[in-house]
Amino acid sequence: MAVMTYIQAVTKALEEEMHRDEDVFVLGEDVGARGGVFRATDGLHATFGDERVMDTPLAESAIAGVAIGAAMYGMRPVAEMQFADFIMPAFNQIVSEAAKIRYRSNNDWDCPITIRAPYGGGVHGALYHSQSIEALFSSVPGLKVVMPSTPYDVKGLLKAAIRDDDPVLFLEHKRAYRLIKGDVPDEDYTLPIGKADIKREGEDITVITYGLCVHFALQAAEKLEKEGHSAHILDLRTVYPLDQEAIIEAAKKTGKVLLITEDNKEGSIIGEVAAIIAEHCLFDLDAPIQRLAGPDVPAMPYAPPMEKYFMMNPDKVETAMRDLAEY
């Protein structure tokens, strides 16, 4: 067991999987000698060489499309999108192709591709290096969208994603890369894709969230505990398809639900979470389903006051949790 950062867990998972299975390879922009602009593939090029850690031309649709072809043949490509914001040119390949290959061929072909992308704000990345993109992919059957919050989950879920026989979009919070540290076992382990995880047991309010916001909620829960409010925190981990059972159970547990996302609010994935609750356990609720989210503007601005205004943070989370607890 070692303490490592979120991004180190990414690198570790990649390295272990590449050792384990020679069909696994990494491709993307600057993933080679440079080790990625965030250094997620740091050291891999030295170990595995040019072919298995491949710098591609600057063309996301080709990165995804070539990976899809290789995956259909039987390889296990792990494609990196340099920033989640730059996945858009590959949208057609991911949504029309990867997600539909098994279905459209009646199970004759499969597409075991993993697409990694750093998302999220709080790093002075401005409009195009801060976005949450999960909502754009979370109505696409055939695809799985995984968003881990801790180094432990990162390693277990990324390994599971690589071994999964269906396409997985693996979104890593770039602010978490170096900010979040945690214990990561040295052993080989995987975690189940599609399962939410209770990150804290509690009795008074239920917080359902994912990614970096899990940490904000955990921090706030500690404070509220002292005030006598006990928070139950569910980490979605996989945002598509959602773990309905876990969501319903968590909502029923306290009857007061707060959903949190860093994304802008309207159309974000927590809308679907609210809908599931409203459909399945409406009469178990003691308060309206609360949603805490970014404002409905295109993305996070660059200037610090505006970035801060948009970005989720522990204070905003704490206030919302307290308000609900006191409802």
Partner: protein, 334 residues
């Protein structure tokens, strides 16, 4: 008696007859599909007519036991050469459960059959180009020696995916053949409104690969250029862009009416160059295609198509609830 070049290409008389028979089979299947459509028996047809020579000539130049193909919707001639049968195609036309492409989930023309290394395709055009490059990448990485072969229309060569895929293949010198079946139209839009270059193959130099334009009505010319491209690919010399020029003899699909955008005269003129006709003449002139051979051929084809049609018409649809199957791998997570 015209001298056929096929022997110089290493093809026997039997092989050129096989080539012609595949072309004719493709044509006859297509014609039958139209009849079935006009009779209200199948909802949709998209045709190979006018492109059979390019398709069969190209496919026969490949290794049908090892190479992977990523055909586009008109490629009946290609998939027949790679082992798909008339019955398979009819099952697809009728959207029946035994359609090997998709069990009736996709429209006809959306080919895919793993056992024959026919890679599943979709409707959005040209997405298969990067896929083919991905297969070629796998071939290189795993030192398998197979070639990936993909096709698309000239209109579709304007999609970003063509550019990105071709460039990727060029940079990594991958064993892939990109074949553009230029039939002069993209639905109603003539080539002059699609491309400003003279030939689609002019684009090859931008990807550091050789580009060739050949007569798509001459299956031997197509065979020759594809064969050389496959040899180059297998020798590690990288990708090739090939353009076959012919003409789309039917409307775009059974939903189209081509009278609003081209003249009957233009179509009639193109029909005089129809390879199913002109290649037969060449084979006859060369003394290879005799009346007897031709009669037997037509008999075989007719029996095959009749049986296929009957079987497909009688076959079952997939069950309604099968709609829910195969979104994710069974037994997998989520």
């Amino acid at each position: 008696m015209e001298a056929l070049t096929h022997r110089n290409l290493g093809l026997t008389d039997e092989q050129v007859l096989e080539m012609y028979e595949k072309m004719l089979l493709a044509r006859k299947i297509d014609e039958r599909m139209w009849l079935l459509n006009r009779a209200g028996k199948i909802p949709f047809v998209i045709s190979c007519q006018g492109q059979e020579a390019a398709q069969v000539g190209a496919a026969m130049a490949l290794n049908t036991e090892e190479d992977y193909i990523l055909p586009y919707y008109r490629d009946i001639g290609v998939v027949l050469t790679f082992g798909m049968t008339a019955k398979d195609l009819m099952m697809s036309g009728f959207a029946k459960a035994d359609d090997p492409n998709s069990a009736g989930r996709q429209m006809p023309g959306h080919f895919g059959q793993k056992k024959n290394r026919i890679v599943t395709g979709s409707s959005p055009v040209t997405t298969q180009v990067p896929h083919a490059v991905g297969f070629a990448l796998a071939s290189k990485m795993k030192k398998k020696g197979f070639v990936a072969f993909t096709t698309f229309g000239e209109g579709s060569s304007n999609q970003g995916d063509f550019h990105e895929g071709a460039n990727f293949a060029g940079v990594h010198k991958l064993p892939v053949i990109l074949l553009c079946e230029n039939n002069k139209y993209a639905i109603s839009v003539p080539i002059e409104k699609q491309l400003a270059c003279e030939k689609v193959s002019d684009r090859a130099s931008g990807y550091g690969m050789p580009g060739y334009t050949v007569d798509g009505n001459d299956p031997l010319a197509v065979y020759d250029v594809v064969k050389k491209a496959a040899d180059r690919a297998r020798n590690g010399e990288g990708p090739t862009l090939i353009e076959t020029v012919s003409y789309r003899l039917t409307p775009h699909s059974s939903d189209d009416d081509d009278r609003s955008y081209r003249t009957k005269e233009e179509v009639a003129e193109a029909k005089t160059k129809d390879a199913v006709y002109t290649f037969a003449v060449r084979l006859r002139d060369a003394g290879i295609l005799t009346d007897e051979v031709e009669e037997k051929m037509i008999e075989r084809i007719t029996i095959d198509i009749d049986a296929a049609t009957e079987a497909a018409e009688k076959a079952e649809y997939a069950r309604a609830e099968d709609t829910l199957k195969h979104v994710y791998k069974e037994g997998g997570d989520a």
